[in-house]
């Protein structure tokens, strides 16, 4: 509940130019190399967030082996990491989203985020 309150406070303050406009939602998936595991992770993300992706949300897949500086910029420690930049604060998911509990909790949170907009 507290989290909802926080989310409501932030839009009241002035928006900085760095904040993305509401309609531009990005999901970034950081993977390590083009391995079977990475491809699996990408597939799972696409299937879980199908609805969001259809609604104009973008999915960016970054291979940190090819772009190591991105790992530093986005503070990536574990892979795969999924960063949702729907709203401030960003939400991170570590892991290949294989555990149901984690996924459902995550999905709930995302939807909560969206409804709060």
């Amino acid at each position: 509940m507290k989290k909802n309150k926080i989310r409501r406070v932030i839009p009241a303050s002035a928006k900085s130019p760095a904040t993305k406009p509401k309609d531009k939602e990005v999901m970034r998936l950081f993977v390590a190399g083009d391995t079977a595991k990475s491809r699996q992770a990408v597939l799972r993300v696409r299937s879980l967030f199908e609805a969001e992706l259809k609604n104009g949300c973008e999915l960016e897949v970054i291979d940190i082996h090819l772009h190591p500086e991105r790992a530093r910029i986005n503070q990536i420690v574990a892979t795969p990491t999924l960063i949702m930049e729907f709203h401030v604060p960003e939400r991170r998911f570590i892991g290949n989203l294989s555990t149901a509990k984690g996924v459902s909790a995550g999905l709930d949170l995302i939807r909560k985020d969206k409804t709060a907009l």
């Binding site: 940190i64 990536i76 290949n96």
Partner: protein, 596 residues
């Protein structure tokens, strides 16, 4: 003090068998003062070292100094992967020690990677690995060709990531990866209660473990460092105190000082001529250590100041450490006995350094003194009094400190004078004094002698190694004109000092005077007799001369009369034969004239 010199002396540690270089593990010099000596050359190269300690012990600092010195002094670039402090925070924290981190970063000698793992917006779902960490570390190392790495502190990961199985597996992989990369790594960790580190990092880092400690004894805080494990090499396992000073960490190991310093034959004056006379006529050896003990008020500071003045007169620098009085007070007090110290201070030959002993711990005092001595390069060092400094620690710590100090000074051929306060009422040999006296080459003792209703100061030379010294007591007099050593009179009742000595002296002087007077009287008497004799002789002589004169006169008279008689007879004869022989006489005369 170059590290190379110590390595030569201490290729062996703690007196054990020396190891040949071939079998020794390659080591990585840290550049941290004292640490390279304890570890016999630094940390194990290409292996991870664990630095473990409580909060605020100096782990980050040690790691940072290892990295910075590696980059600045040994040309080995380094990567600092920080999990707790951001780059600006680190720069600020480390700048206070004189490290220009920003400059090194600019020149691509150091890379700082701040890893932020915040638990609140992190959701774990499913399998993952820590490849992100590897990628970042690898990228940082490759970007500058780093040879040294610091991870401070991996324990933050344990707080954020809850899948311990994955975490530990990845950590194991990380350390294997670090070893394969060939970098020398320093890992910091917090001290645990049951185990060495809170999260058991020691199971991965087992090549070298350094423990840091910070404890408070008697309100004085000391930091200690201990190398508990160093695989493949012998190391000193003792606890060594260390300081965090203006130039980083300095560990002060006692083993780094050998007993092979050069010695000098030169003798230096003490500033009190009679004291020089007591010391074989020439004073103390240069580079020797001198102990001056005395009960309160016997004049220890005065003798020290005289010593300082004598050195300054020889244009030598003197560093005076005073732990009880302020420099101005000493200068004023010495002025009252005619000893002017301000001109020497102004010329820069005499420097005072005062600090209350309770200001900081013994180690800090020692480090401060070393720094001052290294900066000023004195020829003579005076510590007045050393006993108050020793009270700042335990007896053994104090002795250890004095030992290190003396060794350090002797290595630089610096003459040192230590004054020590003794308790009145007991003799010169007290427990901690005897312990300290074995470190000293010379020992002067000032004592009080009570008697005759007064106290007088006396000075003994108890020992002076390497020279003949007087074994006699001298009375130590202080006046407006300075200090004087006077022979104490040995009377019937023992040694006499002060007024008793003066009395005795007066008495003896009176006796001498009386003798002198008697001698004078006798001399006069003899003189008088001689004069009388002379007179008598004079009288006799004049009598004799008178008679001699008379005799001569008579003799003359007789002679004249005889001559006259003769001429008279001739004349009368002439007269009687005048007529007849006149012609004969004249012809005789003519014949004489004509034929002659």
């Amino acid at each position: 003090m170059s590290v190379k010199r110590f390595m030569k002396n201490n290729g062996r540690n703690n007196g054990s068998k020396p190891i040949s270089p071939a079998t020794q593990l390659p080591k990585c010099l840290t550049g941290i003062q004292g640490l390279d000596e304890i570890t016999g050359g630094g940390l194990p190269r290409g292996r991870p070292t664990l630095v473990c300690g409580g909060a605020g012990c100096g782990k980050t600092l040690l790691a940072a100094e290892f990295l910075v010195r590696g980059a600045a002094q040994f040309g080995e670039p380094g990567v600092f992967m920080s999990f707790e402090e951001t780059e600006p925070e680190l720069q600020a924290n480390v700048a206070s020690l004189g490290f220009d981190l920003a400059g090194l970063i600019r020149r691509k000698k150091i890379v700082i990677d701040y890893v932020h793992v915040a638990p609140h917006d992190l959701h774990e779902s499913g399998e993952y690995d820590l490849e992100g960490l590897f990628v970042r570390l690898g990228h940082a190392i490759d970007s500058i060709g780093a040879r040294r790495v610091v991870l401070d502190t991996l324990e933050v990961l344990f707080a954020s990531l809850h899948n311990e199985a994955i975490l530990r597996a990845e950590l194991r992989r990380l350390f294997r990866w670090l070893k394969d990369k060939g970098v020398t790594a320093v890992i910091t960790a917090e001290r645990g209660r049951d185990q060495l580190t809170r999260h058991g990092l020691e199971e991965y880092v087992s090549d070298c473990v350094i423990l840091l400690d910070h404890r408070v004894n008697d309100q004085i805080a000391t930091r200690n460092l201990r190398v508990t494990k160093y695989r493949g090499a012998l190391h000193g396992t003792n606890e060594f105190p260390f300081l965090i000073g203006g130039e980083g960490i300095s560990v002060l190991p006692i083993t780094s000082l050998g007993l092979n310093h050069k010695v000098s034959d030169e003798r230096i004056a003490t500033g009190i001529p009679r004291l020089d006379a007591m010391l074989g006529g020439r004073g103390f050896f240069r580079g020797s250590s001198i102990l001056l003990t005395g009960t309160p008020g016997t004049g220890k500071t005065i003798i020290s100041s005289n010593f300082a003045q004598a050195a300054c007169r020889r244009r030598e620098r003197v560093l005076f450490f005073s732990f009880e009085e302020s420099p101005n007070q000493i200068i004023r007090n010495m002025h009252s006995i005619g000893l002017r110290l301000e001109p020497m201070v102004k010329k820069g030959l005499l420097r005072f350094h005062s600090a209350r002993p309770s200001l900081y711990g013994l180690e800090m005092h020692l480090a401060t003194m070393f720094k001052e001595i290294a900066a000023f390069q004195p020829h003579v060092v005076i510590m007045d009094p050393i006993t108050s400094l020793m009270d700042a620690g335990t007896a053994s710590e104090g002795k250890g400190m004095v030992t290190r100090l003396i060794d350090y000074l002797k290595a630089g051929q610096v003459t040192s004078l230590f004054t020590s306060l003794t308790q009145s009422g007991s003799g010169p040999a007290q427990p901690n004094e005897s312990a300290m006296s074995s470190l000293m080459d010379a020992w002067l003792s000032l004592q009080d002698m009570e008697g005759n209703g007064e106290r007088n100061r006396v000075l003994y030379v108890l020992k002076a190694r390497g020279m003949a010294h007087s074994n006699q007591i001298r009375e130590f007099l202080i006046s407006d004109h300075g200090v004087d050593l006077v022979d104490a009179y040995i009377g019937v009742s023992g040694v006499l000092t002060g007024s008793a000595r003066v009395q005795q002296g007066a008495l003896e002087k009176a006796v001498v005077l009386a003798n002198q007077q008697e001698a004078a009287t006798l001399k006069r008497e003899v003189e008088r007799k001689r004069k009388a004799l002379d007179r008598q002789i004079g009288d006799l002589r004049s009598d004799y001369e008178g008679e001699a004169l008379e005799l001569r006169r008579i003799a003359e008279q007789v002679g004249t009369r005889t001559v006259m008689l003769g001429t008279d007879r001739a004349a009368s004869g002439l007269l009687r034969q005048a007529d007849t022989n006149k012609a004969a006489a004249s012809t005789r005369v003519n014949h004489k004239n004509g034929k002659a």
